[in-house]
């Protein structure tokens, strides 16, 4: 069985017992993210949306490459891969809005 490490950003750690990374079993990005939600139900809705897709304001990197455009949730993951959950870090003065 394939296992991978999921690295979590600070804002999401409060929803998984303060852990900065979690090792889970799963052969694709989608399997791993769904396993993460099963293991830490408080994360539900924060990475995947109600349709099971990765939320617009979140990116998932697999071994340094953005899964968006590289197979997305169906992308295969190698044993020992590292997934990094990247929240959109944004803002600004918004003076023209």
């Amino acid at each position: 069985m394939t296992s991978a490490t999921l690295r979590l950003p600070t804002p999401l750690r409060a929803f998984c017992g303060g852990q900065d990374e979690v090792t889970l079993e799963g052969a694709t990005v989608g399997e791993l993210l769904r396993a993460l939600e099963r293991e830490h139900p408080d994360l539900r809705g924060r990475i995947l949306d109600e349709n099971g897709e990765v939320r617009r304001f979140v990116n998932v990197f697999v071994d340094g490459a953005n899964a968006r455009g590289n197979g997305g949730l169906d992308a295969d993951v190698r044993d020992g891969s590292q997934l990094t959950i990247v929240p959109a870090v944004a803002g600004g003065s918004g003076r023209s809005r």
Binding site: P9, T10, T84, A88, V89, G91, S93, R95, R97
Partner: protein, 153 residues
């Protein structure tokens, strides 16, 4: 999450990196990440102020988005150094270092948000903020040990 005032310590030389990058990116907003240690007792120590690319697809003069590839790279650097991503910094090219509505709408809890402001009739200045329990920004106590938190433009 409570509403204690957080103290954030940044070496002035590191703070100067954000101020210099902000000037270099004018008229656009500059942005980046703060690497350091959140001691969990209301004290955050920033060791590195790192710039990133501004990947916003809106006008860069008044919005920013940290390029996700840069986030991954700096998260890895932080781990190598025994640090963590403890916050975000960005500039307001023509307004004060006070969070805007856009900043508030797009902010995440648990991070410091350092802003370099450049308001009319005001020196360049820096202030730091954090979302409180009501999802509003509360100001942090910014300490730059050798004193200066502002440089002339």
């Amino acid at each position: 999450m409570d509403n204690r005032t957080v103290q954030i310590e940044i070496d002035p030389d590191q703070l100067a990196r954000a101020i210099e990058r902000s000037a270099a990116e004018l008229p656009n907003e500059a942005c980046g990440l703060l690497l350091g240690t959140d001691h969990g007792d209301g004290r955050v120590v920033v060791e590195r102020v790192e710039p990133t690319r501004n990947a916003t697809r809106e006008p860069a003069a008044d919005t920013f988005e940290v390029h996700p590839e840069d986030f991954v790279r700096l998260d890895g650097l932080a781990r190598e150094l025994g640090l963590d991503v403890v916050g975000v910094w960005h500039s307001h090219p023509d307004s004060a270092a006070i969070p805007s509505r856009t900043d508030t709408e797009r902010a995440w809890p648990g991070w410091s948000y350092l802003i370099v402001g450049r308001a009319a009739h005001s020196d360049v200045h820096a202030r730091s903020w954090r979302l409180d329990a009501t999802a509003r920004f509360a100001e942090e106590r910014l300490l730059a040990p050798r004193g200066a938190v502002a440089v002339a433009s």
